[in-house]
Symmetry: C2
Amino acid sequence: LAEDEQTEVRRFLESLELADVASVIEELPQGDDLTAIRLLSLHDQAELIGHFRASAQVSVAERLGKWELVSLMGAMSHDERADLFKQLDETAQEMLLPALSKAEREDLRRLSAHEEWTVGSVMTSDYAVLAPELTSTDAITALRRQALDAETIYYAYIIGESRELLGVVSLRDLLTAPPRQRVADIMDTEPVLVHVNDPQEAAARRVARYDLLALPVLDEDDRLVGIVTADDAMDVSEEEVTEDFHKGSTIQRFDMSVADATITKLYRARIFWLVLLVFGNIFSGAGIAYFEETIAAHLSLLFFLPLLIASGGNAGTQSATLMVRALATGDVRLRDFGRLLSREVAIAVALGVTMAAAVWLIGIWRGGIEVAIVVAIAMITIVLLGALIGMSLPFIFAILEKDPAAASGPLVTSLADVLGVIIYFTIASVLLI
Amino acid sequence: LAEDEQTEVRRFLESLELADVASVIEELPQGDDLTAIRLLSLHDQAELIGHFRASAQVSVAERLGKWELVSLMGAMSHDERADLFKQLDETAQEMLLPALSKAEREDLRRLSAHEEWTVGSVMTSDYAVLAPELTSTDAITALRRQALDAETIYYAYIIGESRELLGVVSLRDLLTAPPRQRVADIMDTEPVLVHVNDPQEAAARRVARYDLLALPVLDEDDRLVGIVTADDAMDVSEEEVTEDFHKGSTIQRFDMSVADATITKLYRARIFWLVLLVFGNIFSGAGIAYFEETIAAHLSLLFFLPLLIASGGNAGTQSATLMVRALATGDVRLRDFGRLLSREVAIAVALGVTMAAAVWLIGIWRGGIEVAIVVAIAMITIVLLGALIGMSLPFIFAILEKDPAAASGPLVTSLADVLGVIIYFTIASVLLI
């Protein structure tokens, strides 16, 4: 880029939000992306890199000069800095560490030490703190001084001598309190909090449930070690929802983006359930083999087999999805089961009758009135049982303290398949012979 | 509840967060719930009722006295008040309206007028405003006065004479600005915003993407009419995710909680796709009918039919889910298709070979080496094609400007079923005769 072009590009980038700048720069060819990044202020660069996806962050970090990277990391928010550091390879990490300040090294070490999927892995350590004896006016002045470095100043944390959490106060409460009132008298001494080894979704759920802007994180000795901010909680929710989506189609959790994932990672995440379901489906095959005589006598029955077993699976998948999601959001609780079960029976019968009516004429055309009757009765029974399996499975998993989301579509479909084969040919062998 | 019990209950409730109080009170028998609610301050009551699910809100509102309800609604946040009002039946609405102040009536009318799923239906009108000529110090004083009524004071909106949005300023920026600097010089004059008739997910997406605490909402004439706060945006995200879950198992959108939904509502949301898929599966039946001779000659082939067609559906459902979710979060973009397709081929072949190996011995046992070879080749082909269908369908939908989430498991499974039948019996009729 020539000098005068750079001015234009800078003006263009400055007219955008940083999240959009990140999307634009990620698309630039290598080299040009560094040039564009360097057009921004250090403060903007630090925020910008947090918007990149992981692979782009690492690629940029590896191509920056050592001291450039050190000053960039100094300006980044503590959690994003730790995330970036963890992604770098060992050589880069070892080159970087001595160049950082002692406080930065310590902070990196602490934040990087936490296991994935725990609160510790998503918290940040740049929170605002206040002394309990400050007046509200002095507290606001103190927050003003921390505004540049702290992730948020809208909540401040009051800690004792051994970093134990005494309370939380919001800037709103400080502003509306009488000027000479002490922080200790305004603060909430029993705030909603979370522990560093709790699963990360605990933090996300609490932020959402209690409408918080941030949540304090304590270690095993109840000392304050970080906060989870609302925007990071939202990112965690998104990750957890993605996990639920994947579980719903028998994909096991993997720790990176789909776009970046390797063939091996995706193969491992997918193969377990696929093979397990293959063996599950052998029962359907065994069911068919058991009725081989009935089938040989009425080959026209086979025409309706895919349609009938698929319908049970489809209705069951619908029911399972409705329940998995409602249990996840808290819309439905375990004790609602009885009430919902009777409603589900009514809905499933209505669905089954409609679907039986839809295939009635085809039944007559392909196999005569008798086959049509078999198909219609089988359809209603299979849809009803499929729906009941789909509805009950998430509750059963929840009672066994497994994740209801494991009551996936493919699992429900496989169960419905086996039952469908047995029901269909049983009805056929009773009515047609 | 006796007098002294009431004191104890009040103390217990006050030790809880209001969201938890709401869960407790929702479980109380009718009558006791009102007694418990009345133990709280009006301010807490107003916040509490916002935490109830819709059906509980209406039940409580209908049993409160008229003037009690009016003062409660006066204390509620504007968006929650409007939501409650919309749920009431017409008689209750008409009884209530004359008792409200003119400003409240106007506000209710405006907020209730917006169509469901639009930004207007989730925004609130109790935002903080500032005049552009105020100094930062005076602006903070002005926000302090608005703190009781405004949903948030961490962002304030600067509007001109005809309510056009001039800019947005954060309390953080006001606090860190020099005391005599004017709001007009600090404010962001090109804030991220949204329009009142945009779909509600536009607001949720922007809040998440730009890490905002609130988002201004403009009407068609670019006047400020409300804000969407981060916690409401999170609720919208949750609703939208629920919709995506439902779509992924062919359930159409319905406008209430699963727990509250009527039989008719759920029937309507489910029947359309179920019947459509029934007709789709007729093609699988036709496929089987076409190969009736091959089947009659080798009835043992039927044993493997459910297993093979289910495997294609399962692998395809996995691929579809991975892509639908990655497209929804922005992890994958349309132009990534080519790169991901070749990766998917490699993964699917690996999956297919593993699954073929898993059934190999059973193939030999049930039908001899020839059948085992047919089943193995069919398995690899079907899994590969299932995975490619599952992966491509979301992209095709996106290119056609349909929601990729409509590339649901059941749809992918139905397509894989048809192909599975044709592939399996074609291979069998070629190799076995």
